[in-house]
Symmetry: C2
Subunit: 351 residues, 2 copies
Amino acid sequence: MKRGGVVHGARLAYETWGTLAPGRDNAILILTGLSPSAHAASNAEDPAPGWWQAMLGAGKPIDTDRWFVICVNTLGSCKGSTGPASINPQTGETYRLDFPELSLEDAANAAHELVAGLGIDRLACLIGNSMGGMTALAYLSLHAGSARSHISISTAPQAQPFAIAIRSLQREAIRLDPNWNLGRYDDEHYPEAGMSIARKLGVITYRSAMEWSGRFARIRLDSEQRDDEPFSAEFQIESYLDNHARRFVRSFDPNSYLFLSRASDWFDIAEHGHGRAADALARIDVERALVVGVSTDILFPLSQQEEIAEGLRKAGAEVEFVALDSPQGHDAFLVDIEGFGGAIAPFLGRL
Amino acid sequence: MKRGGVVHGARLAYETWGTLAPGRDNAILILTGLSPSAHAASNAEDPAPGWWQAMLGAGKPIDTDRWFVICVNTLGSCKGSTGPASINPQTGETYRLDFPELSLEDAANAAHELVAGLGIDRLACLIGNSMGGMTALAYLSLHAGSARSHISISTAPQAQPFAIAIRSLQREAIRLDPNWNLGRYDDEHYPEAGMSIARKLGVITYRSAMEWSGRFARIRLDSEQRDDEPFSAEFQIESYLDNHARRFVRSFDPNSYLFLSRASDWFDIAEHGHGRAADALARIDVERALVVGVSTDILFPLSQQEEIAEGLRKAGAEVEFVALDSPQGHDAFLVDIEGFGGAIAPFLGRL
């Protein structure tokens, strides 16, 4: 691992769609945000809709009739890949805080191993969203020539203080929950309150004020939707956050969350360019790149997407930069399929 | 109280600067944001600097050589005015959650009583910042002709869902702290963790990403500034938030915080205009108004300042609208004295 330590017998969960061409030159790898699993879309083994269902499939913007698509669950996550919630084979105990300090470079190297293991020398395209976009920049920096093209979506060349502040506070909410207990929780004593606050803060920063003003305005809950607790939810926006938190709290491992969140703060492409982000980007070797961002994204602002586009351009890539006005903020890539698909489909079509 | 209940023997803490003219026509009232006290600036009784020290004084933008300035601590606060931390004279016990449901209209009526008690029929100017700006709109709606002019700063005609979401999460952090104990905490069992999260979330949303990128970038703490707790602060931005939280946590009553925060969510000027915000604003009777907002304010966005300016213009006031590009976000009125003072001084000068 970049910062020391070893994970013995690490496993990565991944899913694939489409067929690898005989020349092994039609592979696309998708690196995800902090919380999604490898299940980006339904497939034969799991027909449930995935987190990028509308983007990925036959005839969709990432067309699985043409491309062999791989999506990997990040190293350190809890959706099948090895992470803090896994058993350490050397001790027989769950890693918890004994998991080595995880960096996005480690996640990138693990994903690169997976691709190599599938017999693919060079990806047709590496796609990264959000945290996965940072992981993708690490991947391209560490493995020159590993992808012909790159799609960078709503991400950052380095974590900036506003995003660090948000993530630090999310981690603090978990750490301050007495049930976190330095990572030694179980199903009965589980840091539910901390996870709920962390998730709500996530949802608040993943969306945009503009979208919510249109969608929720000041609509109040019906009386039967309210409870009698003092200061409890009274507006629809509060119940929307409650529902998001309820779905997340028990489905994502709190320690994994802490490790991945901190890895995002640590990420700085400048470490691959002698301290200069622009120099690091200028060393990335792809033929073409598409960089997409959203004007309402407060967590990964458009200026950071411009920085990536400019850097890759200086690296000699043919770069297309698309700034979308989607109202959905950082999460727009999950929902504004018209906007994102409208940029991704022609880019892939021209490869 | 607007929503029912009575506060017997309520008191308001206030401070004044300058001299009331014989005609009692030079009074300015300042209504504050959620947390400040009435101590806006140093004065004879308390020489310590106040929260608007650079704005208020002899020869300053709010010139106390000319104006008799009053600043009031909001009803429901804990800085001298009656609120949830006060003793209920009818029971001899601290109100805590038995304090009546507080609205900003109640706070406005209390402030209006204070002004009347000082023998002032009509203010020369009513100034409101942030939550105090909403209180000021309530004041002007409830008391026609109570002010010749109005300065509205970084506020909202109604709470929008993004701001409600942030405040709801701040309240939840306090409520989920086991030491909050439905409002029955004491100095030994105090909801420190919840208050810390609430304050940090406040500071994050009061400032702007742009300011922090310039100020903190990715600067790390020195090793002696760090502690050994897992996932503890590592970047300067995190320690900046820690310091803010540490100063606040024990100096503001958690129950007061909950009541004032909820009152802000409830505020909707439309309630004074048969359900239409524009109609309510159009009924406000001031001769002149200055509306100031900041482009980097994510909590009270510029669009809401424009809505106030437009509404007051329709009410027949001569309105000056100033959009500042201060990098400091919502808090800019506390620190960008050049920008805010540069708008306030000439406005008051022309009165």
